[in-house]
């Protein structure tokens, strides 16, 4: 049951990313290009995504446990550390360079060609290196 729900969520997420234009780096870079031909589409994607999710957080308060068992996540931490600020800045720089973030990079891998594969391999390496590097730089 948990596996089926996870699969369904991933499938809907991936097709939503595809339909919305998030897997097209031209649209993503257009959204970030506020000094050029700015493309507002991604604002509609984010707005559209936040609505059902905000409703889900409301429903979560009224339901005792997830449908397929387990527990709901704890309330969000309020800690704004250096890891959050530095990490988000590095992520934003990478996102602005290529126009891909993790979800769309995965969703588009079947048609992304060599470039898509290079991005995914480099992203995986970055993910594996993040913890030891963060400790080394004493960011956490």
């Amino acid at each position: 049951m948990r596996g089926i729900l996870s699969f369904a969520s991933g499938a809907l997420f991936g097709s939503g990313l595809m339909l919305s234009g998030m897997t097209d780096t031209t649209k993503v870079l257009g959204w970030l290009d506020i000094f050029g031909a700015w493309d507002p589409t991604l604002g509609f994607v984010l707005g559209g995504a936040i609505l059902p999710m905000a409703l889900a957080w409301k429903l979560r308060q009224r339901s005792g446990a997830p449908i397929a068992g387990g527990t709901f996540p704890a309330p969000p931490s309020r800690k704004i550390g250096r890891d959050l600020a530095v990490g988000a800045a590095l992520f934003g720089a990478g996102w602005g360079l290529a126009g891909l973030c993790p979800g769309p990079a995965l969703a588009s891998i079947s048609w992304g060609g060599v470039g898509g594969a290079v991005f995914l391999v480099a992203m995986s390496a970055g993910m594996v290196l993040a913890q030891p590097l963060g400790r080394r730089l004493a960011l956490a």
Binding site: S6, T25, A49, P52, G87, L106
Partner: protein, 141 residues
């Protein structure tokens, strides 16, 4: 149909996917957290299987749609040095900040998480500065 309607409709699908994962399994839908925990081995047993199922859907359905309808393109730059540097930064940054566009952006903002709001502000700003510098300053992207 205008682009923003496709964007909004796709956005509703993304948010509904997050709602299914939260209300169904109690997990937050963050692409970098799910993929990162699978490849660095921090998710084990049942949790790992759930994350693999999510990734199967995330990669699988778009692949099927692409085969059936065709015409998809990422329009990624052909400069692989930039692509590799971008991937490395995205991987490092999202794991350090513990979230990306889906986790901090969609799931965090929708519950008014302070961390989600701050992270989203910072990565949007960094992305806009990067495009300004590399497109309009250096002409590289």
């Amino acid at each position: 149909m205008p682009e923003y309607i496709w964007g909004f409709t796709g956005g509703l699908m993304i948010g509904t996917a997050g709602a299914i994962l939260l209300l169904g399994t109690g997990r937050i839908m963050g692409a970098s957290g799910i993929f990162g925990a699978v490849i660095d081995g921090s998710a084990r047993g049942g949790e790992r299987r759930e994350k693999l199922a999510f990734l199967g859907g995330l990669i699988g359905l778009p692949a099927v749609i692409a085969v059936l309808f065709g015409g998809q393109a990422t329009h990624l730059t052909e400069n692989f040095v930039i692509v590799a540097a971008a991937g490395l930064l995205v991987g490092l940054g999202t794991r350090m900040a513990n979230g990306c566009t889906s986790g901090h952006g969609v799931c965090g903002i929708s519950r008014l998480s302070r961390r989600g709001l701050v992270a989203t502000f910072v990565y949007l700003l960094a992305g806009m500065v990067t495009v300004a510098v590399f497109r309009h300053g250096l002409g590289m992207i």
